[in-house]
Amino acid sequence: MSLLDFARGPALQWSVFVFIVGVLWRLFGVLLLRSKKDLSEPRNRAAWKGLRLIALRSWPRREFLEGTAFGEVMGYAFHVGFLVTLFFFAPHVVFFADVARGLIGTDLRGLIGVGWPTLPNGIITLLAAVSVAALLALLVHRLVNPVKRLISNFDDYFSWFVTIAPLVTGLLAFSHLAGWPYERLLAWHLLSVELLLVWFPFGKLMHAFTIFAARGTTGMIFERRGASL
């Protein structure tokens, strides 16, 4: 069995398995926790209005802009580049379509008659490169800033590594780095993705599934107490 066969076969199967088990374990484990009863008189009974915090927290507050602008800009640059690369690069779209067919028997084209669009490789390459640059800038910032360095732990650095690795290996595979056969680079790309999947539920990357629920819950608590959002 070649490295590529291993990466496309058993390694992919087990990493997907671990990812699903881990994500659901963490999600149910958090969402089913008892929330502490708030006995105070609510200042605002329409607590659901606090859900707007999900959107509000996605944008920097003017009074803190000076201190957070770098992180916000780089954070968005990384996330947009990563997500566009993940969901609009043609080989990825083909993979997700196959997953959809395996789970529900059809892909998007079969459901609504229109397939998931793909973007030209030039745009994908540019955004992936921007994403890598942003991640490097964020790492430097974390290392240089004494406060951030102090509060960073293994989880932060390892999560950073497993996030940047698929981007870097993907770019190398796509550009056919001289001297390395494409299929070896492709195998390393797949293995890096599989490392990401395995680590995902157990580290800070899990925020992808919990961030909006956490913001919504906080917003509703704040709204009930009459706090300014």
């Binding site: 088990v21 149910f28 484990g29």
Partner: protein, 351 residues
């Protein structure tokens, strides 16, 4: 008496000096050599003596032989092939039975240590009876003939990597030449079948320089297998622009868009089809509207379906995903139940 030179032979077949020089110039380019080497190739090839070649076909379909002898009309490439002294090839030779075997053993005796051995087809190791020629099983015939060979050319994917006979479940225990012979230089010329000009290119290099070409990690000549089909595909711009045929009869297919989504294995296949092409340079499979099936790669028959896109991996199925979801849910609910119990106990303790 020494054998005639390649130039003598070609002249006797009516090949002009101009045609011969043109052939040498194009072959020099194909071998990845500088153009300034063309006169040297012509001089060396012209003076080269016809080498003795023994060709052993084992578990094969004769496609490799067809490729070089029947693919198209007589060309200089096929004449170069004829220029070798093919002392044994049981499909092509007129002799049969003991006479054929005598030809092989006589050629081995006369050219011991100097003859070139071409093997096409894989070698069955499961049972000697799976493949026999004149009472000799394939494995022992290969070992016996390889012993006196100067070098071996494993022609076609079956001889190079096991090919179709070696595909799962490999009922005959088929192995490639490289798994049997360890002490001789082996050049793998894979393809199902290999491109004729690649076969003659290797022969020309051997005749001209007296040595085998530079090989890649899979034992293939770098000059012909150095790039992927995808790298040199004329449909590559469509891949870059994200324009793909979704089926073989849609608008994208009619416009000649990229066949990646239809399972083309061009990105992982190293061969010269996209540049040298087939049938006298007419076209190649992708140009004819079908994706590359990766026939020059090891294990190409077992790489999933020919129509399964490359990026589709074996991620599991609805059952494995459902099992994982069930396990994750049970673990999560159990963890939450334990946590809630601890929360309740802590609250009661606080009262």
């Amino acid at each position: 008496m020494s054998s005639p030179t390649v130039a003598d032979f070609l002249r006797s077949r009516g090949v002009t000096r101009r045609d011969f020089l043109n052939f040498c110039a194009s072959t020099t380019a194909l071998l990845g050599l500088p153009a300034s080497m063309a006169p040297r190739v012509a001089a060396a090839l012209g003076q080269a003596r016809r080498p003795s070649v023994i060709w052993l076909p084992f578990q094969e379909c004769t496609g490799c032989t067809e490729s070089i002898t029947r693919a198209h009309g007589a060309t200089l490439e096929s004449l170069i092939f004829e220029a070798i002294s093919l002392d044994y090839q049981h499909t092509l030779q007129a002799a049969a039975g003991d006479a054929a075997e005598r030809a092989r053993t006589q050629a081995m005796k006369d050219h011991w240590g100097k003859y070139l051995l071409i093997v096409d087809g894989s070698i069955p190791t499961g049972n000697p009876g799976y493949g026999t020629i004149a009472g000799h099983d394939n494995l022992s015939m290969l070992k016996e003939t390889a012993e006196g060979a100067a070098a071996i050319i494993a022609l076609g994917t079956c001889a190079a990597y096991g090919g179709i006979p070696g595909a799962a479940p490999n009922p005959t225990g088929a192995v490639p030449v490289g798994d049997v012979i360890k002490d001789k230089p082996i050049v793998n010329v894979p393809g199902c079948p290999p491109i004729p000009v690649v076969i003659t290119g290797v022969l020309v290099q051997y005749l001209t320089f007296g040595k085998l070409p530079e090989l890649d990690a899979l034992g293939r000549p770098r000059s012909f297998y150095g790039q992927t089909i995808h790298d040199r595909c004329y449909r590559r711009p469509f891949y870059e622009r994200g324009q793909f045929a979704e089926s073989f009869d849609d608008e994208g297919a009619r416009r000649g868009w990229c066949l990646y989504k239809l399972g083309c294995k061009g990105p992982t296949t190293y061969n010269a089809c996209a540049t040298v092409k087939w049938n006298n340079g007419t076209s190649f499979p992708i140009e004819a509207g079908h994706g590359c099936i990766g026939c020059s790669q090891p294990g190409f028959w077992d790489q999933g379906g020919f129509y399964q896109p490359l990026s589709v991996g074996n991620w599991g199925n609805a059952r494995t995903v459902g099992t994982a979801a069930a396990i994750g849910t049970v673990l999560g609910v159990a963890a939450a139940t334990l946590a809630r119990r601890r929360q309740r106990d802590a609250e009661e303790a606080a009262k």
